[in-house]
Symmetry: C2
Subunit: 377 residues, 2 copies
């Protein structure tokens, strides 16, 4: 529907003023090399399909009944997997819904919410949806986050870690510092990509996820998703981990909005995914290995590649003309993401794909960069 | 988590002040006769399971990819089934989510939202969640709705039709009157149960659904659900029908909250359900027939049964002691719903079940009412 034709007479002013999130495109045609929406190149655990098929065949009547409103089996499986109490676990219809409920539960205050100026582009959308005052804190020149830049009164801080679209990782020590310096604020660590992160060699510990801080810091809430490391973007399941009192707020907000966000099949499939630890460990390591080789190949082509802890890499072609590269790739059926925004418009975000997809990408880039128009520095 | 232990220090005042919806209980034990949450006694169309199994087996990779954000196939199927344009169709994660988005899109205005004092108990919850000023208009003495009682400035009117928990039907003539008298307000007709409704014998037409008014009245929005007449409460799919401009507002609100509310399996299953017209017509007629026989049997036991157009009946035992009857039934493993609220606390809401469930209910009630304590008038 084109903008000029819309009759907004009956809309609330809030509806008129929205700037909705624009998801990465999902074109549907054959032989497309789709490296734009950070989906996992591997299918989900076979146990997921088996669990869903079991609901369909052995409990044919099940779908006529409402699902468990609090997804108790799934939350119990997650609690066990992450060594938490079930009261510290919340699940929702994708981490997007979980994040929306977090905004509604904790940030409607006079003090602003702080977030890096470059991050997940849904955060400013939520802020507008829920009337939250969002203040953006500039990343450092190298796209890293300096905790000292957040020293101001705030209702909360929200950071994607690894950050999007840079892929850079904030250390647990820095997160702990933010949490202790802002004890009356809620610190949200959005770990959509954390399962692909690896501790630096010079780090004191091997842990990277802030889930390990939940019992220590009662103001930290960690969100994760089944859409990336668990290859279940199509099933819409996300979760939050935090103190029982923070989780209780989310539960009440959920039950004031939509009591049954997870259908029976999603609950069964997600639970099976959590229980299949071997498959999870195996595929996430494969993605990490593929990220390493893709980084090496792009670096060899002259790209500057940021050290990624996610299932995508953020890379700058040597002439900085990322927009032209994205467009030329698209002509060859390869879709990557380019953000036409200050500071990051010379970069491409490329999802880690299969070895075959990487070969096609690199071959195409080699051809592009030997053409005159793409070699100018 | 008990109220006294909750630490709400980090919550927003909005979160502190919520009064979440309390869904009907879903006890899990054998031999329970569950007539409390208006689920369909029949399973969903077998085509639903087949369509979902097909996604799982023929497109094993599918779940790793994000679903279609606007559920285009499902909306196209609904548009065709209801003779509308696809731009007039919205779908969401159950009609509860659709209703929440409606509250956020249309009722955040100075003028109040009007709704019957007896209706779906989620409406006042949404009003509190979104800061909407809700004014309740008393039903008539016989629980009917008088359109003239709504003659006051308002942002909108929301009515469950058939109404819950009474089961009474408002005529299309009355809905048309409300829409024309409130041309600058959004009239929401929540038709969760409409597929079980039947036009009165003295009505001028056979139509009961306000979907037939969509092209005539640009301020009417109709919500429906797959949870009742389509036996898919476990799949979480609901929809709204309205003018393209009203639907556009809902789409923008959705994309400012959660871009992908319907997972791939729910989209596939719901689409298959819409396409299986024969099964739908057959099972809804069976429910209507079962409602008729249950009404007759309860009437024979001295119950006053309101003329129901839903898949539940609202019935008053002759002594009015509905609470005691509900409690005694529960002792026998039969769960019905009793609302401890003014005006309706002498009634029971009983979901239409299978013939076997009705036999068990009626037999148990016969025994109860021959005992001394339950016969007092």
């Amino acid at each position: 529907m084109s903008e000029t034709k819309i009759d907004t007479r009956l809309w609330s002013s809030k509806a008129r003023n929205l700037s909705p999130y624009v998801p990465g495109e999902q074109p549907q045609h054959d032989n497309l090399c789709k490296l734009n929406t950070n989906e996992n190149p591997f299918p989900p655990s076979p146990k997921v399909g088996e669990a869903i098929a079991k609901v369909l065949t052995q409990q044919a009547q099940e779908l006529r009944l409402y699902p468990a409103p609090e997804s108790n089996d799934l939350r119990a499986a997650l609690a066990q997997a992450y060594d938490l109490d079930v009261s510290q676990v919340f699940v929702g219809n994708g981490s997007d819904e979980v994040l929306a409920l977090i905004f509604a539960s904790f940030f409607l205050k006079e003090r602003p919410l702080l977030s890096p100026d470059i991050g997940y582009s849904f955060y400013p959308v939520y802020a507008q949806t829920f009337g939250v005052h969002l203040v953006k804190i500039p990343l450092e020149e190298d796209f890293s986050i300096d905790p000292d830049a957040y020293r101001q009164p705030c209702s909360g801080i929200i950071i994607a870690n690894p950050n999007a679209p840079t892929g850079l990782l904030l250390s647990l020590a820095d997160i702990r510092k933010l949490a202790s310096e802002h004890s009356n604020a809620v610190i949200v660590i959005d770990e959509a990509y954390i399962d692909f992160a690896q501790a630096d060699a010079d780090s004191t510990g091997s842990q990277v996820s802030a889930v390990s801080l939940i019992n220590e810091c009662d103001n930290v809430i960690v969100t994760q998703t089944f859409s990336k490391s668990r290859s279940l973007a199509g099933l819409r399941v996300g979760m939050a981990f935090g103190s029982a009192s923070l989780i209780e707020a989310l539960t009440r907000m959920k039950n004031s909005f939509n009591s049954y966000p997870l259908d029976k099949l999603a609950q069964a499939g997600a639970t099976a995914s959590v229980l299949d630890v071997d498959y999870f460990e195996q595929t996430r390591q494969q993605v990490i290995d593929l990220r390493t080789s893709l980084t090496e190949e792009l670096t060899a082509l002259g790209y500057k590649v940021l050290p990624s802890h996610a299932n995508f890499i953020f890379a700058r072609p040597k002439d900085g003309n990322a927009s032209a590269v994205a467009s030329a790739l698209r002509d060859q059926g390869i879709i990557v993401r380019h953000f036409d925004k200050p500071r990051i418009n010379e970069y491409l975000r490329i999802t880690v794909g299969t070895a075959e997809q990487h070969e096609r990408l690199i071959d195409t880039l080699k051809e592009l960069h030997t053409e005159t128009s793409m070699t100018a520095d």
